[in-house]
C-alpha cells in the first residue's frame, strides 16, 4: 500500500485559500451579519479612573419606545453571576467577585457600566447621554512604585486592603551560590510600557436568545470560543450555548479575555429584549477598555564570570495589571515560557509583584510576558559585554545552549526540542557582514552619522500547557486544565471534496491553507479539494483545552489533530474501497482522489464515487463498519511528560516546542531630533519544518513589525489622574507601512523532535526579541553620547531626552 505522506505538500508555497477572499472584501466578519429584528447596542462607560457608583438613573432611556433594553449595574448584580476566578487569580487570598460590568465601583476609564439596545445605533448613542450616573470620585492609582511602598492614593479593591495584589517567587537552581561565587554582578533597571496589537477589526458580537428552547447563540470574533462559552454559562446560568465565529480581523491576544464581559452584557440585552442584539466596538473604546499589554518594571542582576559566562540571573518584576484581578499574574507566569531564553544558565530567581492600578486591565498580547523576558536577557547580556569590554555577540556565543545538548532541559523544566542557536547567530552575523558593518559604523561616526547595530536572539515557545500557572500557585488543588487537547473533524463529502472542521477559529493566520496542505498528503488528494469550514460553530466543531487561537498552539494541536483525523479517514476510505473493489485495503493506492488497485487500471474508485456509495448504499459497505466517511480525532501531545503538571519543585513545561530567531537591527539615529530610522532588519529563524513558507513569512513580518513599532513608540499614555491620552491610532503612535522597515527573513530550520512533521510555532516569534533588538541598536548608535537604553518606548522625544540627559 502506498503510504500516506503527510509531507507531500509540506513546504510548498501553496496559494492562499482565504487570502483572495479577505483581500478582495469578500470576508465575512461579525459586522457583516444581520438578523431579523436585530437591535444595536452601545455601552455606557466610566469617564473616571476610580469612582464609587452611588446610583444610576436610566428612567429617561427606559421610557422611550425605540429603546428595547437597558442594562445598569443593578441589572448586572441581579441578573448575572460573577465569573469564576481564573488561573491567573488563583493566588488571591480572598476571592473577589468580578462581574461582566462595574457594579459598585469603576476602576478604569472606559470600564463598562451599562448598555442600551435600541432600534439603531444613533438612537442608542443619543440615549446613552440621558443616563445619569452618580459617581463619588476617588483618588486614582497610577503609580506602581507608590503601591509597592505602601503609599496607595486609595484602595482599588476593598477586599485586598492594598493595591499590591499578589507577590511570589520562583527560584530554580541556587542563585545565592551563583551570586556569591560570581566574579562580578551586573545590574540594570528596565521597563516595558503598555501597548496593544490594535487589530483592525475591533471587538464585535451578535447575540440572540430563543426563549422557547432556551438556547443562546452568539456570533462573535473571539479567539477562544471556550472562554465565551464558559463566561456565558457562568454569568447567565444558561447551559445551551452556541458560539459562532466568522472571519476575524486580527486577534493577537486582544480577543481572548475582556471580550467575554461584552458578550455577556450583549447576551443579557438579547435575553431582556427578546430580540437579536448587535454590538460593534469603536476604536476609542478598544483603546480604552479592550485590554493592554502590561507595563512591566524590572530590576535585573546577572552573576558573571570574567570570561563572560553568566552563572545566575535574578530579577524583580513589578507589573501594572490595571483595574481587574482576573489577569493578575499572566505577564509574570508567562516568563516561565522563556525564562532562560537561549542560554544555559542554571540558576534563576524571579520575584513577581502584581499591582492593581486605575488603568485598563492587562490581557494576553502577542507573546504576553515573553517579550519582557527576552528584553531582560538581551539587555543584561549587552550590559555584561560593556562591563567586560567584550563584543555583545561574543558574550552570547559564550552562553548559548549548544546543539549537541538538545533536547535540553531548562532549569524550570522546559524541554527545548531542537535547535542550533550558535548557528542562527553566526549566520545572522555573516549575512550582515558584522566586521564590515562595524567598520562602516566607525567611519560614519566620523562624518556625524550615528549608525547602530543590535544583535539579539530569542526562543519562540509554542503549544501551551494550561497547568503552567500552578507553578506559582502550589496551593491550587485542581489543575485548571493541563497539557493540550484539541480536536478536528474531517469529512469526505458526497462529491469527493473534503470538509475540515477545526477546534480553533482563524484570525487571519491562513489556517485554511496550511491545514489543507497537511491533510492532502495523508488523504491522497490535492489541497484544492479540501476546505476548512468557516465560520467556526461550537455546535459542530470539536472542543479541547487547546481549542483556541492563542498560545502559539496551531502548529502543535491543530496540525496534530488534523493528522490524526485524516489518518483515520484514510484507513476508512481504504477499508470501504477495498470492499467495493474486492481487494485488500493494504494493496490499494490513493492518488489525486482516486483509489486504485495497482496493476488493475479498471479497478478504481474516485472519492466522489466512494462518497456516493458510503452515504447512499448500505449494500456496498463492508459488514460491521460504521457507515459514513467522517472522523473526529482529539489530539494530545504525546511528549507532554515529564513536567506537565508542576510538583513541589515547581518545574513545569510552560510550553512544548521551541523555535528561535537571531535578529539584527541596523538603525540610524538623528541626534538632533531623536528620530530612529531602521535601515535594515534581518531575522535568521528556526520555525521547525515549514508547512507553507508564505504563511510563516507573513507571521514573521507581522510580529517583527509589531515588536519594532512597540520599541519605537507605539504605546498607551495615561495622565496622573488615570485618563488615557491615546484613544486614537494616531495618538497611540501606530506605525504605518511607511514607518515599518522591510524585514528580511532567512530560514534555518531545526525540525522539532517532538512533532510529526518537525513543525514549530511561528505566530509570536519575531515580536519577542524585536523590542530588545531595537533597544540594543539605538543604544549602540548613541554610544558616543554615553546613552544607556533602559526603558521603552524609544519615541523620538525620548531618544532626544536621553541624549540631553547623557550630555548634561
Amino acid at each position: 500500500m502506498a503510504k500516506a505522506d503527510p509531507k507531500q505538500y509540506v513546504g510548498l508555497a501553496a496559494r492562499s485559500k482565504e487570502g483572495p477572499r479577505l483581500v478582495t472584501g469578500q470576508g465575512r466578519y461579525t459586522d457583516d451579519f444581520t438578523e431579523p429584528g436585530m437591535l444595536q447596542a452601545v455601552f455606557l462607560r466610566s469617564p473616571h479612573a476610580h469612582a464609587r457608583i452611588l446610583g444610576v438613573d436610566a428612567q429617561a432611556a427606559l421610557s422611550r419606545s425605540d429603546v428595547f433594553a437597558v442594562v445598569t449595574p443593578e441589572d448586572i448584580k441581579r441578573d448575572t453571576k460573577p465569573f469564576r476566578p481564573g488561573r491567573y487569580a488563583a493566588g488571591l487570598k480572598k476571592p473577589i467577585a468580578e462581574y461582566a460590568g462595574a457594579v459598585d465601583k469603576v476602576r478604569y476609564v472606559g470600564e463598562p457600566v451599562g448598555a442600551v439596545a435600541a432600534r439603531d445605533r444613533s438612537t442608542a448613542e443619543d440615549v446613552l447621554e440621558s443616563i445619569a450616573v452618580d459617581y463619588e470620585i476617588l483618588p486614582a492609582n497610577t503609580d506602581v512604585h507608590k503601591a509597592i511602598a505602601g503609599e496607595d492614593a486609595s484602595v482599588i479593591y476593598d477586599e485586598l486592603g492594598a493595591n499590591l495584589a499578589w507577590q511570589g517567587t520562583l527560584e530554580y537552581g541556587d542563585t545565592e551560590k551563583a551570586f556569591r561565587e560570581a566574579d562580578r554582578v551586573v545590574r540594570e533597571n528596565l521597563k516595558i510600557h503598555r501597548y496593544s496589537s490594535t487589530p483592525l477589526e475591533p471587538l464585535a458580537c451578535i447575540a440572540s436568545y430563543d426563549r422557547f428552547s432556551r438556547k443562546l447563540t452568539v456570533r462573535t470574533n473571539t479567539q477562544v470560543p471556550e472562554n465565551i462559552y464558559d463566561a456565558l454559562r457562568d454569568a447567565l446560568q444558561i447551559d445551551d450555548i452556541r458560539v459562532i465565529i466568522p472571519d476575524i480581523g486580527g486577534g493577537f491576544g486582544q480577543k481572548i479575555h475582556l471580550i467575554r464581559k461584552y458578550v455577556v452584557i450583549v447576551a443579557l440585552l438579547a435575553v431582556k429584549s427578546g430580540r437579536p442584539v448587535k454590538w460593534i466596538e469603536d476604536r476609542n473604546e478598544h483603546m480604552m477598555a479592550a485590554g493592554h499589554a502590561c507595563e512591566q518594571h524590572f530590576d535585573v542582576e546577572a552573576a558573571v564570570k570574567n570570561d563572560g559566562t553568566v552563572t545566575g540571573l535574578r530579577f524583580k518584576e513589578i507589573d501594572d495589571v490595571g483595574g481587574s484581578i482576573s489577569t493578575l499574574t499572566i505577564h509574570f507566569t508567562n516568563k516561565l515560557n522563556n525564562l532562560s531564553n537561549t542560554y544555559k544558565v542554571q540558576n534563576i530567581r524571579a520575584d513577581g509583584y502584581s499591582v492593581v492600578t486605575n488603568r485598563c486591565p492587562v490581557i494576553p498580547n502577542r507573546g504576553i510576558g515573553k517579550p519582557g523576558m527576552c528584553y531582560i536577557w538581551e539587555r543584561i547580556i549587552d550590559r555584561v559585554a560593556q562591563d567586560l569590554d567584550m563584543d555583545p555577540s561574543e558574550v552570547r556565543f559564550k552562553n548559548l545552549v549548544q546543539p549537541e545538548q538538545m533536547p535540553y532541559t531548562t532549569p524550570n523544566g522546559n524541554i527545548y526540542d531542537s535547535g542550533d542557536y550558535p548557528g542562527l547567530l553566526k549566520r545572522a552575523l555573516e549575512k550582515v557582514d558584522y566586521p564590515a558593518l562595524k567598520e562602516e559604523q566607525a567611519r560614519e561616526r566620523g562624518k556625524g552619522r550615528y549608525l547602530g547595530i543590535g544583535v539579539v536572539i530569542g526562543v519562540e515557545p509554542g503549544g501551551r500547557n494550561a497547568a503552567r500557572d500552578m507553578a506559582i500557585f502550589p496551593e491550587m488543588k485542581e489543575t485548571p486544565g493541563s497539557g493540550g487537547i484539541n480536536g478536528a473533524t474531517i469529512k469526505l463529502e458526497k462529491n469527493g471534496t473534503i470538509a475540515l472542521y477545526l477546534g480553533s477559529p482563524n484570525c487571519g493566520q491562513a489556517h485554511e491553507t496550511t491545514t489543507a496542505q497537511v491533510a492532502a498528503g495523508i488523504l491522497g488528494v490535492s489541497p484544492d479539494v479540501i476546505s476548512t469550514t468557516t465560520p467556526f460553530d461550537s455546535d459542530v466543531a470539536p472542543w479541547g483545552v487547546a481549542a483556541a487561537n492563542s498560545g502559539n498552539n496551531f502548529h502543535l494541536y491543530d496540525i496534530g489533530s488534523i493528522i490524526g483525523a485524516a489518518t483515520q479517514l484514510r484507513e476508512k476510505v481504504l477499508k470501504v474501497a477495498g470492499h467495493i473493489l474486492d481487494a485488500e485495503p493494504s494493496d490499494l493506492e490513493i492518488a489525486d482522489g482516486v483509489v486504485t488497485v495497482p496493476g488493475f487500471p479498471r479497478r478504481r474508485l474516485t472519492f466522489a464515487e466512494l462518497g456516493k456509495a458510503a452515504y447512499n448504499n448500505q449494500s456496498l459497505l463492508p459488514e460491521g463498519i460504521d457507515a459514513g466517511l467522517q472522523t473526529t480525532f482529539y489530539y494530545t501531545f504525546p511528549h507532554a511528560q515529564p513536567n506537565m503538571v508542576p510538583g513541589q519543585d515547581r518545574r513545569v513545561r510552560a510550553q512544548f516546542t521551541f523555535g528561535a530567531g537571531a535578529h539584527v537591527a541596523i538603525v540610524e539615529v538623528d541626534p538632533r531630533t531623536g528620530k530612529v530610522d531602521v535601515l535594515r532588519y534581518l531575522i535568521v529563524g528556526d520555525n521547525g519544518t515549514i508547512i507553507n513558507p508564505g504563511v510563516v513569512d507573513g507571521q514573521i513580518y507581522g510580529s517583527a513589525a509589531h515588536g519594532i513599532a512597540v520599541a519605537l513608540g507605539e504605546g498607551f499614555v495615561y495622565d496622573d489622574e488615570g485618563q488615557l491620552l491615546t484613544i486614537t491610532l494616531t495618538d497611540y503612535g501606530k506605525c504605518s507601512t511607511a514607518e515599518t522597515p522591510n524585514v528580511e527573513v532567512e530560514h534555518a530550520p531545526s525540525p522539532s523532535a517532538f512533532t510529526p512533521l518537525g513543525q514549530k510555532a511561528a505566530g509570536e516569534g519575531a515580536a519577542i526579541p524585536s523590542p530588545a533588538a531595537i533597544a540594543s541598536a539605538v543604544e549602540n548608535a548613541l554610544e558616543p553620547f554615553g546613552v544607556k537604553v533602559r526603558h521603552l518606548p524609544l519615541t523620538p522625544e525620548r531618544v532626544w531626552q536621553l541624549i540631553q540627559e547623557a550630555q548634561a
Binding site: 452601545v42 531630533t673 499614555v717 532626544w800 531626552q801
Partner: protein, 285 residues
Amino acid sequence: MIPGAFDYHAPASLEEALSLLSANVDDAKVLAGGQSLLPLMKLRLAKPEVIIDIGGLAELNYIREEGDHIAIGALATYTDVAESDLIQNRCPLLAQTAVVVGDVQVRNRGTVGGGLAHADPAEDLPAAILALDAELKAAGPDGERWIPASEFFVTMLTTSLLPEELLTEIRVPARDGYKTSYQKVSRQAAGFAIVGVAACLKESADGVCEDISVAVTGMTDVAFRAEKVEAALRGEKLDDSAIASAAALVTDGVDPIEDVNATPAYRAHLAQVYVERTIQAARAG
C-alpha cells in the same frame, strides 16, 4: 460611534448655500470633503442640527491662472492642488505642502477650503498660505470680501470668517524664481504636523537672501509667520551658521502647545531644527 440625526441640505448654487447658511446660522455646519467635520460628528464632538453640503458646487472647484496670481476654488482637493501643473510651476510650495496632508484618501476627498476654514492648529496648509501671503475670499449675504492670510486664522478652530460667510477662493501670488519647501515632523507618514515649516525664499547669484518668508504650523493654537527669522536673514548671506542662528529665533516669544505627541520643550527644539532644515531644503531645491 456615529452621528446623531441632522437635517441635510445640498444647495445647487453658491447663492442658495449662502441663503441656507444665513437661515440656519446658529445650527448649521458646512460640509465640503468631510475629512474634518465627519470625524468630529462621529465622535459627537460636533452635533450640528443642519448640514449644508456644498461638495457638489462645481462653481467652487477650479484652479486657474489670473495674471500674476493663481486662483484656487475652495472645493479644489489637496490632490488637485498637489497634481496641478500650474501650481507646480508657478507656486510649488502649495503642491509641496498639499502632497503631505493626511493620506491618499484624505487628499482625494479633503478640500483646500474646508481644511483652511476648519483651522486645525496642526493643519499643514496654513503654513504655506501664510508664507505665500495668500488672500482668502469670503462670500456672505452682503457680498464678497478679501481677507489676507495673516488675518484669517484667529485661534484654534476659529477663523475670521463670519458665521454667515463661506470661504470661496484662495488667491496666491505666483512665486516665479523663488525656492520653496515644506517640511514637517509627524508620528506617522499620514499624521498631523507636530511641527510643520514652510519656507519661500529668493537668493541672489552670490547667495544673498533677497526675500524670505517662513511660516510655522502645529506649534501653537494658530499657524504663524516667523518674522524674527525672516528679519535675521533678509539681505544676509545664506550660509549654514546664519541659517542656524536665525532658525533659533523661531521660538522667541512663542509658547508651544503641549500634547501627547510632544512636550513644549521638544516642540520648540523641533521648530528650530525644522526651520533650519526647511530653509536648507528650499535652497537645495
